[in-house]
Symmetry: D2
Subunit: 291 residues, 4 copies
């Protein structure tokens, strides 16, 4: 990794605080422990230790995607890294993907998606609230990822503008009311994801997905348990986040595939696939040969 | 998404089984329910429904990264998607990243890394066992991701070949014995990750990380709880994976930064950062202004 | 503890098996490793090591309540010790209590209740299926606790025979249909508990409890995570029970207390009471003095 | 249940606060919402609604064991109901049992034990700190359970005074240093339990238990997940207690039983016994017959 350049996102570790800023020539960053001159950082290697104008030491790092997400400005409940990583894998997000989300919220998922679809993919982020889009834009800009996102201030009832999308994610209160729009926007075989906080919403969404013909439905939660990293007194931290939301995933199959055609409507959960999938694996049980 | 082409990875859903194969002109896939001709799939849209030569219906989909990982051939305990997604975020993996892992194992992390660093990044995967590398290579090839990976059959005691890496991940029995090698291979500010099954190993690794000067140490576990996706009888599945491993993360800072320079040696855990980070956020508490 | 006597429940550890039997003079126990003569055990101290008639060593212990529950014959899903202990505390079960349950099932809760209400309390166990009561009776008899229980083969629609009960527990499919009966059977201030497997049932039960005037409603789950007890390689076991059921608790207050009179309809959960309750504790915040 | 009598523990629900007090003739209870005259409560049925001297309504209930524990004065981390219930079952606590614990702490386990061993059993509670014993005594007295407990201000290095105990529980920093004392105090076949916060302590304790000849070692954690009890918006609470401690259980067998005699040194965990135990059950697989 080369030195910091103007436009880079930089994470500052200063005392017990850490925050992310984007380098700009000639700018000053005010902190609780004095000023940081952006110009002093430009050209320096990541990991450098410097001091503020009143002599307080700080370290400047390249933020990880995890750091970027945890440091965004929040005006709504965000989706956390523990869920974000799993969402990326389930929705098959990666370089080149075209993905839509609704709503934007504070932009934590937007940020993770933008990071992963670079450079040729694209994120379309819908929200009917202008204030949400304003904050999310700022957060994406601060992370240097704004160019990969198109924000759309629009009620999702009117549908997505895009079609043939690789994936759609719904983070709204009544996702079952957006399933027609999501179906229309998705490519055949495309991935749908959603997050809702209550079990009642999960039930309504499952019913809606089945009614609309989505298949391979999976419902799960992810729990992150942190430990105090002390070698001689290793133990879980006292308290943890017990709930952010239930994750629901499904697929839009080809229009010709009826529900039930797959034999089993729902996906095998991660903990049940261990044996079944290895038995069904391509190498062990299904030999290929040339004709 | 366009139609399937030769070289694409395709996931077949056939009865209660699902598996991934890579399309090749002129090939036949043997299954428990009859033959599938690859040629019949080439050109078809993902999500299509066809039949085997004995008339059994199957659906052909583009696999998600989650599908690819869950369907690899296993000759060792694999790292699961619930951990993989979080690892990607913590190690800042994304398009263009240069990442090394040791050991290769069955290649589940290799596959996730290769998917995410495309097209310009690179994965360096080390294992001293040739059989592991052989299986992982097959798995990567089957997923169409082999070109992004360089496998190295090599004892990690001799060190990594690469330097200035963005991230290094250790999935070995005694990761604390590889920390000098990891430090040498990492760029300043680079990310280290590891997974170990026992608490004793976690303690040894924390001690080793501190001794070697790594900072920002985090230890955590991720638990995935799946639900039976039935709208009127929603409930968690009966049994779950209770443990795959403990995840440990740390950063290599600049050589000039001494342990303790950061004020706090360890990272704030996800569940503790909610308030502290939003307070420290760039927009709320740290105003920038031009000079 | 004195030596084993006729009528005692004894746990036998034989090879990798363990089972519970009740001592009777002159009886023989057939096992997969030979015969055990009851008479050889009578008078011996718990913890003794003997051999079967073909020389296989076994150990005879007094079973714990946990052992008794885990060794009952099962013809239905049982309530597990992790839930049973918590139920006992929430329902205020203890020596002298009069408690009813519906349905009996295999009798695991019956057994725990009978153990704890001895010698002066009483358990009333309702089930409309004679086969359930037959198996549960056998299980209670085997544990030496049958005398503390009255089984009633009866449809709960007809109500409980008893009144003024200290607690009632419902383990039926539609507990919201038994709330009138439970209210009639409970003393003022009495405790209600229930277990159901699905979130839909939880919602229906909460609505029913509120409609019927029950207060102090609490909903929770208990998760037991076991570790492999190896000092140098301590780690959680690979798999665990992810779900047995949701526990719901409530109280029947005096007929004159309307819902809402308490200011807050629902109980503080265990994890929220830490500070609030210690502040409200009798010694710190509420001084007593004589007049 | 009859009306309240002098000497009874009463739980008062007043606004958003709840606390426990013990009724005494002629006493006044000061609260943040006015005075409560004990004499007004004596003779009233549990569940009654009254008002303070300034007209604030309150409800008076019999506290459950759970209520009693959650309302004790705390001068140390307490053991919570989720663990207490399981401890009672594993240690076979019940009416008539003779149990020792060390240390006393704030007395939450003491209280649960005293409640359950009534009327003929006895709890022996050791602590070397007089202030702990003073607070615990007050807590037990407030709950009306003091008569069943003997507190002993004593360093456990000097051993327990009692012998032939049914169970011993250790809640000290270095329980492995008390195992000789516990062995001496326990009856053959007696139960040992312990709670420690760190994994390092678990490892040391397992090693100590094996060295001392304890058998049937089990290590586990209990997690309580609470739900917001709202029928139409059912969801887990946001945050939960992630860790109070690891529970360790073992048995003292007869002096003649060597480690390993049982074939397997460690107990089957709850989640592994489902099948094995029902197969080994006395009724299904081991027929008894008279001679």
């Amino acid at each position: 990794m080369n030195g910091f350049q103007a436009g880079d996102a930089v994470m500052i570790l200063l005392g017990r605080k850490r925050f992310v800023m984007r380098l700009q020539q000639g700018r000053l960053q005010h902190t609780h422990e004095g000023l940081i001159r952006h110009d002093e950082l430009i050209g320096q290697p990541p990991g450098i230790k410097l001091t503020t104008h009143i002599g307080k030491p700080f370290v400047a790092l390249r933020p990880s995607l995890h750091d970027l997400i945890m440091s965004i400005q929040r005006i709504s409940q965000i989706i956390y890294p523990k869920e974000l990583g799993y969402i990326l894998l389930k929705l098959n997000v990666g370089p080149g993907a075209r993905v839509a989300e609704c709503g934007t919220g504070s932009g934590s998922l937007t940020l993770a998606l933008a990071h992963m679809v670079r450079p040729s993919g694209r994120v379309y982020s819908y929200d009917k609230r202008a204030d949400m889009i304003a904050v999310a834009s700022k957060n994406l800009d601060n992370a240097g990822l704004l160019e990969h996102v198109e924000f759309r201030e629009r009620d999702i009832e009117e549908g997505f503008v895009e079609t043939d999308l690789d994936a759609v994610f719904l983070d709204v209160r009544t996702p079952w009311e957006c399933l027609g729009q999501a179906w229309a926007a998705l490519a055949e075989g495309g991935f749908l994801g959603a997050i809702v906080p209550t079990t009642n919403q999960v039930s309504e969404l499952i019913a809606g997905l089945e009614a609309r013909g989505f298949q391979d439905i999976e419902v799960c939660e992810l729990l992150l348990r942190s430990y105090k990293p002390v070698a001689e007194r290793l133990r879980p931290v006292d308290r943890m986040v017990a709930h952010t939301g239930f994750l629901i995933f499904a697929r839009r199959l080809s229009d010709g595939v009826a529900p039930g055609d797959l034999g089993c409507a729902s996906s095998l959960a991660e903990d049940e696939t261990r044996d079944s999938l290895s038995l069904a694996g391509p190498i062990e049980s299904a030999d290929s040969q040339g004709v």
